[in-house]
Subunit: 281 residues, 2 copies
């Protein structure tokens, strides 16, 4: 067991990919990455190769989440090992190309990825039933930055600037780490995904209730047993029937109606992090 005060030596990070446009209608990432492709000065750091990259250009062009299938679920081992044929779904072909350029997934040559908010909640996606095959999963140390909710197809300055600050913060961290700075052990509050909640539906699959006004816009706010979660179209309130306090997030997102998800349920944990420094210093 590693004690609370230990410092771990880790290899330097030299290659960072910044992915945007994995969903073509999430405008902050699309706009920031395009800005940095045209002028990379803001994201250059001493001793680092930083590559801003639009992962789903056709979806960006159409301002749509995806063309054939969700790219952020396309990086499965099966997909990545399929033979390259013409009639594969666009996003599967794209996943193969991205894996060749920035992976291969799981290899030690893979890029680090920096894509997270100014004061940000850490979402741990390690639930055994949830296998996300995200674009970032080709990276060696993938970090997803989710700033929102933001409306699809809209560029909001508050969300744009929050995302910009986080990406720059991540790059500053890597530069300092590579330069020999030692980071002290600390504790981190994280939200571990424990499941998701669908909207109430009728037998045909149509939703019969909406997110309750008390829950709308309340991502990361504690939800206690008995708190309202849905409001039916005939005005009844449906309460949360869980046994303990949870922290909902991704509440009422447009992209998740098709995934039968009204919100993601998380539980709060406190993790201890080792101190770290670069191994060659």
């Amino acid at each position: 067991m590693i004690s609370c005060h230990s410092v771990v030596n880790l290899p330097e990070a030299r290659k960072v990919a910044i992915f945007g446009g994995t969903h073509g209608n999430e405008m902050s990432g699309v706009t920031l990455v395009n800005l940095w492709i045209n002028n990379g000065a803001e994201v250059q750091r001493s001793g680092l190769t930083v590559k801003p990259y639009i992962t789903n250009p056709r979806a960006v062009e159409k301002c749509t989440r995806y063309v054939d299938t969700d790219l952020n679920r396309a990086f499965t081992t099966d997909n990545l090992s399929l033979p390259r044929i013409e009639d594969l779904p666009y996003e599967v072909r794209r996943a193969q190309e991205i894996n060749e350029t920035f992976g291969p997934k799981g290899s030690s040559n893979a890029y680090d990825q920096s894509i997270a908010p100014a004061s940000c909640s850490v979402l741990l996606n390690e639930h055994p039933l949830l296998h996300y095959s995200t674009s970032r999963s080709v990276g060696k140390h993938p970090i997803g930055v989710e700033v929102g909710p933001q409306p699809q197809g809209v560029l909001r300055s508050d969300i744009f600037e929050a995302m910009r600050a986080v990406v720059n913060h991540g790059l500053d961290f890597i530069e300092l780490f590579n330069g020999g700075m030692e980071f002290e052990p600390c504790t981190v509050d994280v939200y571990r995904v424990s499941g998701n909640m669908d909207y109430p539906r009728d037998k045909k699959g149509n939703i019969t209730a909406m997110i309750h006004p008390n829950l709308q816009d309340s991502d990361w706010v504690p939800l206690n047993p008995g708190d309202p979660v849905f409001q039916t179209f005939d005005g009844r309130t449906i309460n949360y029937e869980g046994e303990s306090t949870v922290y909902p997030t991704f509440i009422n997102e447009a992209a998740y109606y098709e995934k039968q998800q009204a919100f993601v349920i998380t539980r709060k944990e406190t993790l201890k992090a080792n101190g770290i420094r670069a191994s060659n210093i």
Copy 2:
């Protein structure tokens, strides 16, 4: 000239169409109209034929604004008089069908339409350069209810309930009017469209600035000469250069990027309304 205290006799209204789903990703209207198609009790009124109707079912199915072209710009005289052939854009064929069912546009047989918010700003769309060919234009007394901004593809309970209240209020009004109630002369504040403002763009047409945080979410709030309107990606503020106070609306809507419109500019006016009563009472 009609004096301030005159009361005008108008014919009763007997047929009301409630259109929803003109844009398939505007979920409040889609959900309300589907609800009322399944159970019309809430929108029935004494002596009225009320018909809730999904105008663009294919766009609703895909949860997209439109399939081939914007239905809410498709009701032009040219489109409505085109021969019915198979390869017309879907929304043009649909406009023809709707015009046959609920129009014809301009006729005295056309339906009244009730589609507006609880305490609502009245937008006057009579600018000579703006020819909207909306779905509602087939009606004899068309009223558009715009509640928002709401994110595309999201059903928010606050917006859903506001829209529901306004439509019911409109139906109550018609029922009282038909029943002989006299409505007193009054004044109404309206916002007359005087133009629209595009995002700043580079030579390739890409936007180079976002709506300024002060203007974001400030629909109907007075905008004065010198007030900030845009924030460029390199951090500069662009101020409003008009000569007088205006009232922006439709600020930073996803659907209007393709229409080169960052917001609509309106000017406030106060109109006098005659008193009215039904002519057969």
